[in-house]
Symmetry: C2
Subunit: 206 residues, 2 copies
DNA sequence: TGAACAATTGAACCAAAGTTCAATCCGTGA
DNA sequence: TCACGGATTGAACTTTGGTTCAATTGTTCA
């Protein structure tokens, strides 16, 4: 990462936005502030955030509703709640929905920074995972429908002969399809094929 | 399951123990009550619980500390917090540590039963998973050290020839070891071998 | 319509894996 | 000490998998 992480802040309290923005920028972080959930969503597609710090109780859409919206768009983007009007049920819901933490105002700076660091670490890991997955998806996306079908039989552990019988084609055809699969995906061993297919959610045909 | 689920309740309030026990028993659930975390831990080995409902603030060991103790002994046993003196940080900590829910007194009966049902469902699933894992562990535990070593090379996707070279033995030896592995574990295909080894945390040797 | 691609098959061949029978060597426990 | 199980190897064999060359059919896209 050549650029510092970019933190989004959503809170209806201008004083907090200002103070928190100043604090984070002093830690060499980039920040973008939003006064409401709606303002944030309107800008969502235009910015590339690494973490979002959001209030729960705001006029208009609540922080918890915003969490749902964000989760639907970018499931692995780490969220940090920071609120003054929070309740236990709210915090439980937020954490169960995947929030990294749920802090209460006034917040201890060290506590906030610790949570933020954790969020950024998790987000970075999630990004690496997602990138690997995208690469895999690209390579397996090149497979034809038939090749994918053969693959799904292969990762069920069937021998070529059985696959050929089930598909009503010759064993040679299966071999060619398998060859194409390894060519297109770059995955040569059955072992790696199983792991890759499992990660991509490709289901075996038993 | 012929027997109804068995719920443990840990709370320092005798009135709550009594009321909650009555409620759960009316729902065809078995219950066992404990007045303190210490009392619960002393009895832990003797009972077979499916879920535990526990208070946070109790004289002596707190509910959160008890959660740690329970988690160390039975990581997948579902926990449900039910407390009157809870705080947001407590609830966040509990949920992050894996608690199914964190409810506040006075609790809505329907809410409690919903959470409890979810806890029991999760616990039952965890039990099924654990049982499958135990069976697998048994079968793979029969492997000799050498056979396990060969297996770890196999699930790295290496051909027998390469494994033989790395271990400084002949290819025939590897074949025999592999045959023993499939005999002892009952797993015939490489595909199934990879999945089983991965679930057991058996690491490949690359 | 012609080019390009997917799917299919056959033949022949080589490499890898699995099986069976037989044998040797080494440590551990009875 | 002797028997037993684990590790090792060899030989011979079968099955399965992977590769190459060549060819046919159907569909789709320009």
């Amino acid at each position: 990462m050549t650029e510092p992480p970019h933190i989004g802040i959503v809170d209806d309290d201008p004083a907090l936005l200002k103070a928190l923005g100043r604090l984070l920028r002093s830690q060499k972080l980039r920040t973008t502030s939003y006064a409401s959930a709606e303002a944030f969503l309107a800008d969502f597609e235009n910015v590339d955030l690494d973490c979002i710090i959001l209030d729960v109780s705001m006029p208009g859409m609540s922080g918890l509703a915003l969490q749902e919206q964000i989760h639907a768009r970018r499931p692995r983007l780490p969220l940090l709640f920071l609120t003054g009007q929070g309740t236990i049920p709210m915090s439980v819901q937020a954490v169960k929905a995947g929030a990294v933490d749920f802090l209460t105002k006034p917040v201890d700076q060290a506590e906030l920074m610790t949570a933020l660091e954790r969020a950024l670490t998790e987000g970075a890991q999630a990004n690496r995972d997602a990138q690997e997955l995208t690469e895999l998806r690209d390579r397996f996306g090149r497979l034809s429908a038939r090749e994918l079908e053969v693959l799904r039989h292969v990762i069920a552990g069937k021998p070529n002969k059985a696959i050929a019988a089930e598909l009503g084609v010759s064993e040679q055809t299966i071999k060619v399809h398998r060859m194409r699969v390894t060519q297109k995906t770059g995955v040569n061993s059955v072992v790696a094929l199983v792991r890759a297919a499992d990660r991509l959610g490709i289901k075996a045909i038993d």
